[in-house]
């Protein structure tokens, strides 16, 4: 019994979601909210905030990318963060 194309599409979508949830790990969430301190080419350290600007993907299983779901979470995190926290 072969899987229908709808089932395969569903599975690929599940896979993409699972991979993105893996990539957007705790480290990334912290870097998104609090930034990471990096040394630049001129030797000066600056606090770098990671932001996704574009995402271009070409595959038929179009869906709302988990990035947007995560963004909502992070916006909540930023709103709720303690203004006196050290970062």
């Amino acid at each position: 019994m072969a899987a229908s194309s709808a089932v395969l599409t569903h599975c690929r979508r599940q896979l993409m979601h699972a991979i993105w949830l893996l990539l957007l790990d705790e480290d990334f969430r912290n870097a998104y909210v609090y930034g990471i301190v990096l040394q630049f080419a001129d030797g000066i350290s600056r606090r770098v905030f990671l932001r996704f600007l574009t995402y271009a993907a070409d595959y038929p299983e179009k869906y709302v990318c988990p990035l947007f779901i995560l963004y909502c979470d992070l916006t909540d995190m930023i709103c709720k963060q303690d203004s006196h926290s050290v970062y």
Partner: protein
Amino acid sequence: MPEYLPSGHPYRTRRLPKCYRDELPPIPLPPVINATELTPPPTDVFTDALNTNGLPAIFETQPDDYGVYRQYSYSLPSYTPNEYASFSDLCNSPNALGNESTTEKPGWLSAFTSSTHTTTEKNPFSPFLNATTFRLMSWFGSGSNVKSISELDRLVKDVILADDFKKGDLDKFSATREAARLDSYQDKESPIFSPADGWIERSVQIPVPAERVKHTSEETAPVFEVPGLYHRSLVGVVKSAFQEPVAAKYHIAPFKEFWRPTKDDPPERVYSKVYSGDTAIAEHEKIRSQPRPCTLETVVATIMLWSDSTQLANFGTASLWPIYLFIGNLSKYTRCKPTSFAAHHLAYIPKVCLHMMTLLTMF
């Protein structure tokens, strides 16, 4: 040469027709802040600079030769990259006049590797045994694709003339064997997806539907494990991107760019880069204006993601499905040059169809 021809006429000055003349424009100079526009003087670039009306202070740079200038709001960046230090930074032509690019070029493998990690000393001709077989197989794998194994065997005679050619290395040469050696190459010590470069291999679990079976929730659905995902830490990749030589050309603050052909013309906004767009300016301003105890200057690293299934061969079905990113703080003119190696590979998505087919027949 005499000034006049024997006939008494002067020599004609010969000039290349205009369409063949390649008059190179001057290299744009790094922007210089227009001192007269500063309100108030930038005593501290990190503090809010507001003019007397309570509006954000505007800092404008001197227009370049084309009449293009930049406008920064609130504060000036503490670092501005000099992107166009030489002609090779502006173009990618082998015939370009002159000097080398100002930044060191990483190798093609840099997209896979982490700049924080240096590979250990090993056979530079790996997987081949020596310079001789490497030369042969490298020739075989490049250029025209009409070569054959027997042609390669024939080449042995021609290559013998190379200066570093060692006849002894070809005592038991067999192109088939060397090709097979490349096919079955699995370097256990330093694989392409090296853990030292931050690559992690793992499997991903996904809930799958089973035909003619009802489950009360997604949690109770059978879980299928998809093996073979290679990925790196997103934060690790960005950190490594900021440590590469090309990071010297990253813009740390977005700006508006304007074009005013002459002083009497009204300025026209130029939209061309990630860091001269309104989205980047708004995000930069949002982060900059957040109160925080840390006094370090804030920088927005704009990440641009791609994931495309990529065909690897003209014939056949070999393909890869990578997720890769570019840092938008780098000028698109540098970023889009393949030789700038500005792409950073984040993950390789496993092929799922065949696994899934076999799985779904199991339930």
